[in-house]
Amino acid sequence: MNLAFDIVLGLALLLTALGVFSSKDLFRAVVMFIAFGLLLALVWVRLDAPDLALAEAAIGAGLTGVLMIDAVAHLSANTLQNDQRDDQYDHSPKRPLWLPVISCVGLFVLLLGAIRFRPEASVSLPDMVRDNIAESGVEHPITAVLLNFRSYDTLLEIAVLLVAVVVAMALKPAAEDRVHQPPPAHDPILHGLTARLLPAMLLVGMYVLWAGSYMPGGAFQGGAILAAALVFLQLAGFAVDRYAASLLRLGLALGFLVFLTVAVSVMIGGRPFLTYPEGFAGQLIFFIEAMLTLSIGLILFSLFSQNPPHSGAVGHQGANHDQ
């Protein structure tokens, strides 16, 4: 019975992806993409990876969907003003067929063969993780791998997030802050919901962060939920990005700052880079994760709020030099 569930789920995933690619209307493609994110979360559940399902639901269906809808809204807002033809139909020319077909078929055959002739693995990492989980300071293997065994990857990955937001800030012309955003319409129902949903979101975010050390959860999923809460506030009309601007730089880099200082300060005791002192691994990891959650929340939110306004005058040379 569960194999039938998996087969149908896989086919649905494929169907949704086909829907995204073949849809002429851009908005339909984006909504199909949101459905794809949700189905992918279910696939991760079936692959026995609840952490990834949590991350995919929070980041994939939640944030990426909102970013895509915002982008399509930006496109359709300007297109409708410029010319009255239906904005979302894709009239752009297509590229010649030979490269896509070759790459598609070639990749498919190559990967099928790679799966078919896969040799038996000689090194088993899961056993190693199980043997060393005791000293890692956390019970949940994935958090142990992320923040202890391969913590250097996570450090670089936070740097990747930080670079993305630095570039977003660099591309935002200073003139844009001063231009007054139109006051969002006051919507009683939405404000009511935000007032009740926000505490629940923050609570769940902290719960997911706390749960990270002994069951699926952790800094990234918690951060994504915090970001979703901030995006919710921004959409409901509270100009969160204006308040956030003041403590933005510190908040963004806080997680990375804490992670780096901990990573370096342990070296003073003669231990190699990124080695947690024996007794304190658990507490240190949780402290780093808490700071990371805050930073990831702010970073993902500013990746949403640093976008250009929809009504940006299209076509004229943006006045980027603010002297």
Partner: protein, 99 residues
């Protein structure tokens, strides 16, 4: 009597089929609002599937996933309503494949 977890799988399988049926509305939905409605449906049905799977696979962690999904299901809808409409005046109803 079939044992418990196949029953739960059956329930989740039925819900999955309704989810896939929802895809049709996304595909044919004449206007963006209908598509977003289907996306909203996906959120609720997704929570349902996750809850039944949590029982079927004996994984309590899936309840957290369902909780997160329940919270985030509406954010796409709010983004659609708030960001898709402010600039446009009353747009003509979509001319394409009106059923």
């Amino acid at each position: 009597m079939i044992e418990a977890h196949t029953a739960w799988y059956l329930a989740s399988f039925v819900l999955l089929l309704t989810l896939i049926a929802g895809l049709l509305r996304i595909w044919h939905g004449p206007n963006p609002a209908d598509r977003m409605l289907a996306a909203q449906l996906f959120g609720t049905t997704g929570v349902g599937i996750l809850l039944t799977l949590a029982q079927a696979m004996q994984m309590p962690a899936l309840n957290d996933v369902a909780l997160v999904l329940a919270l985030l299901a509406t954010i796409a809808m709010v983004a659609f309503v708030k960001r898709m409409s402010p600039q446009q005046g009353p747009t003509k109803s979509q001319p394409e494949d009106q059923p």
